[in-house]
């Protein structure tokens, strides 16, 4: 029922590592449906399986059991090449450690997914400039990651995630390595994305960013243990709540 209206759907998803006595269930029987334009925050303590779930949803890891669909296409049995092609256009990733390419400028980092997807270099560059403007870093286009602050790096990473206009952006602890000011910058950006109709799945243990979501899912020991619908949380409102308005 959900799959018809969901952009991303996981049913009975499980991920196991090891065997016998050493078997660990990082994700255990998780089901999730994400509607287009919805923002979902998954919270929980460290090691509860949030990041593993995100990697499963993004096709970066194979589930041990369960089904996974993106826009109705089943991912769990899809060959690696098919998954890679799907990631190009349908998914954008934001990582806690930014994962920018050290030797590329901010602009070159942002255009990378478009180039890998086969866009013309000029089109990729124009799109990268638009995104750089969108994240407020137009004056940092030629800076290397080492010359950017943590918050600026994460904004570049968010712009990169949007390079191919993905259906869903998956963010793994996007504020985990940031100070308060940088967190505010990123919160604003996520708020803007949400307001613009971008589907978001954010894994975080930061309550402030979780509060910006439409839905808050709590995870513990690999399982969903609670779900709360938030009524129209916005970045602005919540940053004000958290006293981060700057």
């Amino acid at each position: 029922m959900h799959e018809k209206t969901s952009v991303l759907s996981a049913q009975g998803l499980r991920k196991e590592y090891g065997k016998g006595a050493a078997l660990v269930r990082a994700v255990d029987d998780v089901s999730l449906d994400v509607a287009p334009g919805e923002s979902v925050a998954i919270v929980g303590p460290s090691g509860c399986g949030k990041s593993t779930l995100l990697y499963l949803l993004g096709g970066l890891e194979r589930p041990s059991a369960g089904t996974l669909a993106l826009e109705g296409r089943q991912l769990e049995q899809m060959p690696e090449t098919g998954l890679a092609r799907l990631r190009r256009h349908a998914l954008g990733f934001v990582f806690q450690a930014f994962h920018l390419v050290d030797e590329l400028t901010a602009l070159e980092n942002i255009e990378l997914p478009a180039l890998l997807a086969g866009s013309a270099p000029r089109a990729a560059r124009e799109r990268a400039r638009e995104l750089l403007d969108q994240v407020g870093l137009e004056d940092r286009a030629e800076h290397l990651p080492s010359a950017l602050s943590g918050g600026q790096r994460q904004r570049v990473a968010i712009a990169r995630a949007l390079a191919n206009a993905p259906l869903v952006v998956l963010a793994d602890e996007p504020t985990g390595n940031l100070d308060s000011t940088a967190t505010t910058e990123v919160l604003r950006l996520f708020g803007q994305l949400h307001a613009g109709g971008q589907t978001l799945v954010v894994v975080t243990h930061d309550e402030r960013i979780a509060a910006t979501a439409d839905r808050l899912i709590t995870m513990r020991d690999g399982r969903f243990v609670g779900e709360t619908k938030l009524a129209g949380g916005t970045a602005r409102g919540l940053t004000e709540m958290a006293g981060l308005e700057g």
């Binding site: 970066l60 190009r88 256009h89």
Partner: protein, 583 residues
């Protein structure tokens, strides 16, 4: 004492932990020093067997050949024979009649230098039978290297100027250089074979009171340019016998120089990889109080120890292999045995090995030692280099091309080392191809079986060297690819997260080796001509088929693709999430 013990423990522990890398480093140094040892061991390798043969055959100090019409016409046979009584001569044998006779055996037709001798019991130059018996009517004795070259044995029947003769004996002599195929017959048979109007020459052997003065004696009595005879000192004969060894030595010297270069390239990649993996260890050592100097010593000691072990293996291998590829030829008594290895040669081989290991280690060791403790403990990736032009160019190449060029751009030193390594390998192949077409000795003259035999011996050495060089280059290539795979695990995992397919990543990783290999293949062609020239050949005369040379380029690319495909594929299939989570 405590420090030394700690140093030894750290070094041994690390070598044990990285057995494969340590083994490869040791093998590379061993190959280099083995070749170097071979080249050094060949100095004077024929001296000993020549002296033995000379003593056993009562070799002359000066041998003369009266050849009217060949050298000149001035002087008579009587004047030539009178050399027996020249000042300084203490003994003589001859004159023996000599002529040119065509020996035919199983399709081979060889112009031989035939000497008439009824007995081998002469006072000077007493050929030593190594098999069979001396000449008798209808029988011929064959000089041993000539018999070996033709595959002749006692009892075989050969044709001499169309008449059948049985091979009665095989003998060695030190009177004549082995570049001339030599046989002995009875005087009567020789004269009969020479025909109705025989053009006989005469050989004369002289013993001098001062053997060392033989070259001066030969010069003094050689007469003018028109003199009908030629004199050759025993030193000149020895030098001629050493020629094959000399050519092999020259080839080995060029080969060991190339091996040293290719090994430096390989060792630099190996050591660079080892050092990159040791950053965290450096941090730990510093955290527990090790000084930068102490850390540099640990890192240096490890590679120098491996270099020393490799040298021991290499010197021993070279010393044991020397007799196999440097047989002094059947023309001399006994084999060369394991040639005496001068202490200087050993020191040189050890010095080269340690210099190579130190040169490759010192930079990364000092860099590692200077790294701040916190930074080292965090184990950061070595910062990649930025090449804006290559990055801009790569944007136009699509997924795999983009990845390949960017991988090249971030590690230019490794790319350069790869180019050096493949260029040397290609140059070796080119030099070998040219050599097959225009042998270094230039002696593939029809009928000169001895020259052909010498060329075969040289080819053998060349093949062994080429095989070693190509093997080392292949190991270098696989290792360079693996180093790239390890170094690029984060960017390639990221590329896959951003939508690059496994095939694009595999092609990108292999392409990072293929593009430099293309440059190396092109550079390797002129470099091969240079190698051929340095090894004693004449590239202007070589004229190898152009198609062969051009075919080396695609062949190189195919070989590189085959060698890099597996490590590249393994790199591309690493779990993305695992890599991204670990960084």
């Amino acid at each position: 004492m405590g420090r030394l013990l700690l140093l030894a423990r750290l070094v041994v522990g690390d070598i044990k932990r990285r057995r494969l890398q340590s083994g490869l480093l040791l093998a590379m140094i061993a190959a280099t020093t083995a070749t170097l040892t071979l080249a050094l061991a060949l100095h004077g390798v024929t001296n000993d067997p020549f002296a033995r043969t000379r003593a056993a055959t009562r070799g002359p100090d000066v041998s003369g050949l009266f050849e009217p019409g060949f050298h000149g016409n001035a002087g008579t046979l009587a004047q030539f024979v009178a050399l027996r009584r020249a000042r300084g001569v203490v003994g003589a044998s001859g004159p023996y009649p000599v002529t040119r006779i065509e020996l035919s055996w199983r399709g081979a037709h060889v112009r031989t230098h035939a000497e008439g001798r009824d007995t081998d019991r002469s006072a000077i130059d007493r050929p030593l039978l190594t098999a069979g018996r001396w000449t008798a009517p209808g029988g011929v004795v064959i000089e041993r290297s000539f018999a070996d070259a033709l595959g002749l044995h006692i009892g075989d029947t050969v044709s001499l100027n169309g008449r059948r003769f049985a091979v009665r004996g095989i003998a060695v002599t030190s009177a004549v250089a082995t570049s001339d195929p030599l046989i002995w017959l009875t005087e009567r048979d020789l004269i009969a074979l020479a025909g109705e109007h025989p053009s006989l020459w005469y050989a004369l052997n002289l013993k001098l009171a001062d053997p060392a003065g033989a070259p001066a004696f030969a010069n003094a009595h050689a007469g003018g340019p028109d003199t009908a005879w030629a004199l050759e000192s025993w030193q000149a004969v020895r030098a001629d016998d050493s020629q094959t060894i000399f050519d092999e030595q020259q080839l080995l010297e060029v080969g060991s120089a190339l091996l040293v270069l290719i090994s430096i390239a390989g060792i630099a990649v190996l050591v660079g990889g080892r050092m990159a993996e040791q950053t965290r260890r450096v941090g730990l050592l510093k955290a527990v109080g090790a000084t930068p100097g102490g850390i540099a010593v640990v890192l240096l000691a490890e590679n120098v120890l491996l270099a020393l072990a490799g040298t021991v293996v290499g010197v021993a291998t070279g010393w044991l292999l020397a007799p196999v590829i440097t047989q002094p030829g059947a023309s001399l008594l006994g084999s060369a045995g394991s040639p005496a290895l001068a202490p200087g040669s050993v020191v040189l081989a050890v010095g080269v090995a340690i210099a190579v290991a130190t040169a490759a280690t010192i930079g990364p060791a000092l860099r590692g030692a200077r790294t701040s403790t916190i930074r080292a403990l965090n184990d950061p990736a070595r910062p990649p280099q930025r090449r804006p032009r290559l990055i801009a160019l790569s944007s136009h190449l699509g997924g795999a091309g983009l990845l390949a060029v960017r991988l090249i751009a971030r590690r230019p030193r490794r790319t350069l080392l790869g180019i050096v390594s493949v260029t040397i390998a290609v140059a070796t192949v080119i030099a070998t191809l040219i050599e097959r077409h225009a042998p270094v000795l230039g002696m593939r003259v029809a009928g000169n079986v001895l020259a052909a035999s010498r060329q075969t011996s040289l080819d053998h050495v060349g093949n062994v060297l080429s095989a070693i060089l190509l093997a080392v280059a292949a190991v270098n290539l696989v290792f360079a690819t693996w180093a790239t795979v390890l170094d690029a695990r984060r960017p390639t995992a990221l590329a896959r997260a951003l939508g690059a397919t496994p095939n694009q990543v595999t092609t990108g990783l292999a392409g990072a080796q293929l593009a430099p290999a293309l440059i190396a293949a092109i550079l390797g062609i002129p470099a091969g001509l240079v190698v051929f020239a340095v090894a004693g050949g004449n590239p202007l005369r070589a004229n190898p088929p152009v198609l062969w040379l051009i075919a080396v380029i695609p062949a190189t690319l195919i070989a590189v693709a085959a060698l890099t495909a597996i490590p590249a594929r393994i790199g591309a299939e690493r779990p993305v999430a695992e890599v991204l989570r670990s960084e």
